[in-house]
Assembly symmetry: C2
């Protein structure tokens, strides 16, 4: 006998988000933040993630306004750039990942850093007013913070800082949250990753659920 | 003052995997399975995930032998196909995601199913002996199980079944685990996703850590 299951994508989203809103503790969030947090929980399959989701004041508005004005989205990994749902973007925004660009490997060797960090040097022409989405590499987030210590470095409009893992993820996100060089959101702790980061971008890009 | 942090990618991996092995309860796994579970925990940033990682007997060996023999990897989402580290693949294996192929949207409408499920119909010419990596859509996993109820349907060598979320993820993975039409692994429960799925493929593809 074939399995029977829900096959209507819209119904699946509706039911998923209703389950999350029934189970998660979302009282801490403003309405715009709540939509972002719900989508992040959805991507992770993890009620409770909301306890680690921190949004700086005005973050969602700043990031959304930037996207509506046509800002590019700068991603540290192809899993992030590939996951962003293009039809949700309000201005056919460019989605840029420079990780595999020519010269990044050599630049990383010169910098004695990871390719993920070196790739951010290629962001500079796009960085002013951009939305940054870091969902993989702590070294990328650390390097961005160091770049932004230079007052002459272009400033992004907002930073989604959700690298994942066991070395540098906690520390780089804590550093972003302490510095807040621009409006930002983080997932505190080891959790994070490309799917959660993509979910934040997709939620900011459109209020449609 | 610029932030100081570990910038050596190899050292980051070593330290991450050592932390996971110190903290996680990996006694249940055979050595080949342990390497896969460690990488899945790494991708999720979540010690404890190992409690949900189930491998059927011979799964790692079957999937690895298939890759070494040149089998393609069939992925349900671009975040999965993009995340697989090509230099780890033993036979320059094809990595195939048909989700955005021409005709999938129309086929989904005809099938009254999601695009993720419909895309699997385009797997048929590649399915015999392939490694299947489902890291996003429960409907894809359910549809695969229904396809495999037909004895004339080509059989993959192994199935990584890790869809994530709140509608159908638990049920589709439980169904795979109950059926075991071919060697398989799952992450039981709501957790799963593209990063965990990619980690499993990358660990199977090469024992190198």
């Amino acid at each position: 006998m074939p399995y029977e299951y829900e096959t209507d994508g819209a119904a699946i989203y509706l039911q998923s988000f209703a389950t999350i809103r029934a189970e998660a503790d979302l009282d801490q969030f403003a309405p715009d933040e709540e939509q972002v947090a719900v989508r992040m929980i959805h991507a992770a399959g993890l009620v409770g993630l909301e306890q680690n989701c921190l949004f700086s004041p005005g973050f969602v508005q700043a990031a959304r306004a930037a996207l509506e004005a046509g800002a590019p989205i700068l991603c540290d990994a192809r899993m992030v750039s590939e996951g962003i749902t293009r039809p949700r973007l309000p201005a056919n925004n460019d989605v840029i990942c420079t990780l595999h660009n020519d010269g990044v490997r050599e630049l990383a060797a010169d910098m004695q850093n990871t390719r993920s960090a070196a790739a951010l040097e290629l962001w500079r022409p796009h960085l002013q007013g951009a939305v940054v989405a870091i969902g993989n590499a702590p070294t990328a987030l650390f390097h961005l913070l160091n770049m932004l210590e230079d007052p002459d470095c272009p400033r992004p409009a907002a930073i989604i800082g959700c690298p994942v893992g066991f070395v540098g993820a906690v520390e780089s996100k804590d550093a972003l949250w302490a510095d807040q060089p621009v409006p930002c959101c983080i997932v505190q702790g080891r959790l994070g990753g490309s799917a959660i980061t993509v979910a934040a971008v997709n939620a900011i890009a459109s209020r449609k659920e």
